[in-house]
Symmetry: C2
Subunit: 556 residues, 2 copies
């Protein structure tokens, strides 16, 4: 029996505040029967010949977490009063994992994870009977099975040597509201070792985030080793150790894919490219020009000479070479914050424009068509920032181009009105770096440009289809949190990202409209579980409050 999810979840939260699935499944019913995992509990794949190795590995990881999580229930007695119930509970001996008859040819998780968004299959059904008979997980894809395993892993709490739930049976029918649920990390302002990225990918997969938007290079540094362009990272990485070699990229991409995550890399163009001047000065206008504020939104200034045929060719080659490192169907070409003054003061650009009889906007159009055409030739769909649609209406040669709306969610209407597919990335809801004060030097009372700090409550309250027509709403692919790293480094990566990024993961998986009061106990639960798994998620409240759902509410 499946009730509408909103009703069911509302009932459940009243009855069982410790039920802590995140993101909330779109349809779920639970009961009130205690159940524990048998000591020899197993997860068995049935009906699949040649089980993909990444599914086997995912099952092994999931099984390991069942005992390594050691998460006590977030209630005052941490579960002690359930001792009798757990002792006499039925034991679940096995979870049976299988593909549905409608699944078609078996693909690995890694293959499913990088399909175009419209083909991505992440749904699953999970049934856990209360009587100890086998639980079943079914899906149309190995990727869906991975999502179900993740849900299964959030059900169990620790008490003494048992992993238990008090709310069997479970009937879950789940699938995402939006196909794109992402997290962006900037690895150019400050560098992040591969281990930090992999730990972040782990945490992403635990909340069913399926896209790592990797803003890998920028004006400050160029850590990506691109075959044929290795001089870039040699001259413009912070140092020889602060680079991502092709082997590192392969490692990250495979690690992500095996966890159901598509890695969409971005080489921002034509702005945010000062670093390229260290290796190819001929292609960059206004490199490190001073005062920087006249030439760029932040130091150092420098933009690709879009009016130059040589620079256009160079950029197209660089993008295709970089895109070749990734298995994704998508590749980010940027397009934000183009500074007009930089080009106005650049003699070669002015000479090129004059010789070609073009305006800057016409040159930018030619440049963008060239780079996007080159990407199309290697099977990649571009991802651009909103300025490429709203401020510089270039010709987007690929109808499927994804547009990141970051300046304001109010701009989504205009982008979708033009028929473009949108990824929500509004700074006002999703920028993880806001609110830490200004980072520019010699600025005593400087604020962060995007003050205030974006709380988890703010992003959780986001409505992806606000002010959109039904047709416009269909163009929303999803959204993401973003971490620009002017003031972040490995020291505060986890604490800046977690658990806040989980709130967009739920908005775009479960759909909007969640209540922050009801979400908080589950978000506590997720945060404590993340900490148990080695992620430095911050505390949202004193532990006294975490153990007493509702007791620290505004009017409690």
């Amino acid at each position: 029996m499946m009730l509408p999810s909103t009703l069911v979840v509302a009932l459940l939260l009243g009855a069982s505040p410790s039920l802590a699935l995140w993101p909330q499944p779109r349809q779920i019913t639970t009961g009130t029967t205690p159940l524990k995992l048998a000591s020899g509990f197993s997860i068995k794949v049935t009906g699949i010949k040649n089980v993909p190795s990444d599914l086997t590995a995912a099952i092994s990881r999931s099984k390991g977490q069942l005992t390594s999580d050691n998460l006590q229930p977030l209630v005052v007695d941490r579960g002690a009063s359930s001792k009798g119930a757990v002792k006499s509970a039925k034991s679940l001996k096995s979870l049976s994992v299988s593909l549905l008859p409608t699944a078609g040819p078996v693909k690995s998780i890694s293959e499913e994870a990088v399909l175009p968004f419209e083909s991505r299959r992440e749904g699953y059904t999970l049934v856990i009977p209360a009587d100890g008979s086998d639980a079943t997980l079914k899906a149309n894809s190995t990727l869906g099975l991975l999502r179900g395993l993740t849900t299964f892993g959030q059900i169990w709490y620790q008490l003494d040597d048992s992993q238990f739930t008090l709310t069997a049976p479970f009937n879950v029918v789940d699938s995402p509201a939006y196909p794109y649920r992402g997290l962006m990390l900037d690895t150019a302002r400050n560098f992040f070792p591969v281990s930090d990225i992999k730990r972040t990918l782990d945490a992403m997969s635990w909340v069913k985030i399926n896209t790592f938007h990797w803003h890998v290079v920028d004006s400050q540094s160029f850590p990506l080793v691109v075959p044929g362009f290795t001089v870039l990272s040699e001259k413009a990485a912070y140092n020889a150790q602060s680079v991502y070699s092709p082997a590192d990229v392969h490692d990250i991409v495979s690690y992500a894919a095996a966890r159901g995550i598509d890695v969409i890399a971005e080489i921002d163009t034509p702005g945010h490219t000062s670093a390229i001047s260290k290796a190819f000065p001929e292609h960059i206008a206004c490199p490190e020009a001073s005062p920087w504020a006249q030439f760029a939104n932040e130091p150092p200034a420098g933009q690709l000479r879009v009016a130059s045929a040589q620079t256009t060719k160079f950029t197209a080659s660089l993008l295709t070479a970089a895109a070749g490192l990734f298995t994704s169907s998508y590749f980010g070409t940027g397009g934000d914050e183009i500074n007009a003054n930089c080009y106005a003061k650049d003699a070669p650009t002015q000479a090129d424009l004059s010789a070609q009889g073009k305006t800057f906007e016409q040159a930018l159009d030619t440049f963008t068509q060239a780079t996007h055409t080159a990407l199309k030739a290697v099977g990649k769909t571009p991802v651009v920032w909103e300025e490429m649609v709203l401020d510089h209406p270039v010709t987007l040669v690929n109808n499927n181009t994804l547009v990141l709306v970051w300046i304001s969610q109010d701009n989504v209407a205009a982008v979708t009105a033009k028929g473009h597919r949108v990824i929500h990335a509004s700074n006002d809801y999703f920028y993880l770096d806001c609110g830490g004060g200004g980072w520019v030097g010699q600025n005593v009372l400087g604020n962060s440009w995007c003050d205030p700090f974006k709380t988890w409550q703010k992003s959780y309250s986001f409505n992806p289809v606000a002010n959109l027509t039904a047709d416009q709403a269909k163009l929303i692919l999803g959204g993401q949190h973003l971490l620009w790293t002017e003031q972040s480094s490995p020291s505060n990566l986890d604490s800046a990202v977690w658990p806040r990024a989980a709130t967009s993961a739920e908005v775009f998986w479960s759909g909007p409209g969640g209540d922050v009061g009801k979400a908080l106990p589950r978000l506590h639960d997720l945060s404590y579980r993340l900490v148990q798994r080695g992620i430095r998620a911050i505390s949202l409240q004193p532990q006294w409050c975490a153990l007493r759902p509702g007791a620290c509410d505004l009017n409690a």
Copy 2:
């Protein structure tokens, strides 16, 4: 030759932006000669019979850091262009450490660290010749020698296998502007294991912070195991592991003292005591009363029954028993945020007041005199929050009582006008927890009550004697950053505290008036060194900026 420090440092920052002592010594001259540490470099104590073991240990730690720091200079080439200069530099073979003839009987660092503030001796002189002849460190106390060793350890950068400086000779004559330079940590809203506290003590000592104000218990939990009152931690700690046993306290206190840090513990009274109701309900008014906002500034409500003779006696016994765990001459008795409604609605308190014919303020005065008299009897000077002077003018039986001013720095004038000694703790400059959004539940757009985030620039610009007369200024003992932990845990302890807490350390050691533009390169250097030493200090800027002092300034 000793020039006035401001002039000298200004010259130095122009000539040598990589000179990165923090806090800035009060008098320093440097040169332009490269110097490196000899491979067999040693630190020798001379002229002290029976060298205290904590001095020997401090020397050993300092010596270890010289090679383990591995900190490259924060310049674009990370020191590579200095290779020739370093190769041909003279080698420093030894640092000779000794007490001055005026030192008096030799005490250990640990003994010196807990003397009353007016007797604390932290000054030192450090001379490092440019010609390779022995460096000398002299002081009137082992505590001063520790401070000098800390300075010595910040001088050296790594290049290949050498530790070098480009700015020998060094002549440093240093001593603190203010005797109290602290950091407060709240271990009651969320618990912090001993290892987190010890790591924090390490970092504190590296910036010459000399006081750990340990706000150890509060309404949410009571993790301190107090002899004779162990039922408190048994019933009101978050769990049996989240406690500080007497052995843990001894460990923390000795660890701190050996690093020149006095541990001033606080048991906040009579407010912020809800946790006590778990073990001694008879002593607490309005325990966990609802709605909490009518009974306390945050949940859970609960205050000691100040009008009860039994509660007064209980409190005095508890405070003296707790104070007995610590070697400090000081002990915090709190006194902030007393809620009048809690007592107004508490029948036993009203009955007591009526029976005694006292007003609440008179009862509070009696209560406070009793607890402070009890502490005086065991040799402890109380530390109170400003309300005990300004809102509830109780009789302070100890003339040396320290008063923490937290509500506004504007209140310092009123507190000092009454002749009290002040510790600056203004939330508007020094609260490390502000700006992360509201933590109270069911509150979508809630702000942090002390918004915005307190930037390092803000605290660095603090003037301890603003609007004070010369006589009032003499009553300023120093100041501190503070971390209340509603939204902090071990996950973000380091990133919340460092490097921001270093800015008050410099204001109160070097004196106010520092320029944020000139401080930034040194603060970068400190932050990078902290990271090298295992502290998760956050990045203040993109590394591109850190390597180019001034290039990311507002008008650069």
